[in-house]
């Protein structure tokens, strides 16, 4: 059991959740999503994001529209689909439960 693997798995688990959360309030194009994810130190390189976005889109959770850009090729603006909103709600519930569970178990350990 390598610590890197475990860390990466934990990070990976919340990555999709975070992407959906970022898109909850407003649509965004990949660079904006990357900025926020980098702030949270969730990803280090941009390349990781593109396959993930495509997969979420193919799963019907995301949709996108094209917008012209002054500084390069047209950009894809991603937004949640209705299925995606539902999905995110479920994830949020699960997340709260998880946070709760982690809090509980850690407190117990500290008391010991």
């Amino acid at each position: 059991m390598k610590i890197e693997n475990t860390k990466a798995q934990m990070r990976k688990g919340v990555l999709e959740f975070c992407i959906l959360s970022i898109l909850e309030s407003s649509e965004a194009y990949p660079s904006e999503i990357i900025e926020k994810l980098k702030e949270g130190k969730l990803i280090v390189v941009e390349g990781t994001l593109y396959p993930l976005l495509t997969r979420l889109k193919n799963a019907g959770l995301l949709k996108y529209r094209w917008e012209e850009s002054k500084s390069g090729p047209p950009r894809k603006y991603y937004a949640l689909t209705e299925v995606g909103v539902e999905f995110l709600k479920e994830l949020e519930t699960t997340w709260d439960e998880l946070v709760n569970a982690v809090k509980l178990t850690r407190k117990k350990n500290i008391k010991k």
Binding site: N5, Q9, E16, I43, G72, P73
Partner: protein
Amino acid sequence: MNKTVTANISGIVFHIEAQAYDQLNQYLNTIRKYFNDSDGKDEIMDDIEARIAELLKEKLINGQEVITGQHVQSVIEVMGEPEQYMDEDAQETYSSDTGNSNFSNFKSKRLYRDADDNVIGGVCSGLGYYFGIDRIWFRAAFLIAFFGFGFGIVFYLILWIIIPDAKTASEKLEMKGEPINVQNIGNTIKDEFDSFKKKVNQNDNRQYGRRAENAIFRFFDFLTKVLVYFFKFIVKFIAAILVIGAVIAIFTFVTIMINGPMQMEINDYSINNQWGSDFAELFFNSPMMYAFCLIGLAIVVLIPILGLLYGGLKILFRIPSSTKAVSISAASLWVLGLILLAISITSTVAQYSNEQRVNETIVLDDFPSDTLNLQSYEDSYSINQFGNTELYIEDELIRSNELSIDVIKTAGEHIELKVVKRSKGSNRREAGLNAEHVFMTYEIEDNNLKVSQFTSFPKEDRFRRQRIQMSIALPEGKSIYLDPSSREIIYDIENVTNTYDGRMMGHTWLMTANGLECTDCEWLIKEAQETETNTQENENEIETL
């Protein structure tokens, strides 16, 4: 001064230094190769290229016009090295295996060697993971195969070479992933169904339109997945046939190569009681050319079969593509084999390019009788019932049954044996010498002419289609008795009744002014009469019509 090239990245034109272009191209190719198996590979690549174009455009803001290696390097740093992509994806693999998310991407297992848990090369560990069986069984099987048959070590080495080592974390996870098998495909389809049903239930209280949209999406998604798995199954099935076929072909070929020429018939030359290699060598001009032919043949035949085997195994066990070095060296080895074979064949064919004949005449001037009795030493002609050439090697001599006897008419007084010896050779002189060296075994005693079916010639002349055609020239009034033992040597003897060789035997034939005539064939006279009456009847019929 640097050379620049123009490149179109995602619809935007860039001037890039040639070196930087190569670097970028290589980077994109590596990533593309990595995403080869992912759904939506093209879309992912388009997105990545678009982002790269955007980043490069930003670099050029301060008046620069040309993209340099430094720019490309910094873009790659932002986007991430291919290894980093892979690691991220490995985590996805893990999450889709453990987590139960609806949109998890089904990723299957690959065959790798496990260098962390190895005895020799980690092949057995890798196989164990792949088939989900404890590696100890593979180790035991290889051990038995090693001591029992000796094939084990060869097979192990082959697997060691073709199966790559699981180096990165993602490769290790791929190695341990879920295997593709019928049960698993079934489970996945069932999961799809369950989640589909769950979705439908959850959406019960929502408006009909959305539910339908969702259901249709799920249904098509499910349908595509079923089709994809079906296609994968077909591909694996073909690959399995390929592998089995290739293994059978290799075994057959090796068996033929080891003890083969002995059983083979090369251009109708059948071989008896001789080692195939001794015999086959006689066709070539040196043992080296024979070796060239064998090695060349082995390479030319085996490499494509091994290629098919490798391709089949790759599909079957999802072995990732190895470096081009293997295929390039295999291809060059194949060309080398072809060259060896060509050298051997052309040098051998050249040995047969000229033909010479040598004539000899033996006059039997003190022949005691009017009837010559033609016999053969060998009364067993069954060994040669197919009319093939037979070769024997006897110490320093080669014996061949290419001898034929005809009976012709001569104006002279004495019976003559006209012997024509023929042989091929690489030039006229050699062909002539080869022809001179051929001799026939015969003996004349009283009125008997005894001839051997076999001609002989020295072994160092090798086989160059040495053959003898003898004509027995009979003066008018003399006759010949064809003993049944001569069946194998007489060939197409002309006679007035057009009787075929096989029926001429056991009879005496007299040389008349018209040609050979049978003196003791009652059946022939009868047949002749019958034919005549038949013709008359036919003529009568025609008249009545």
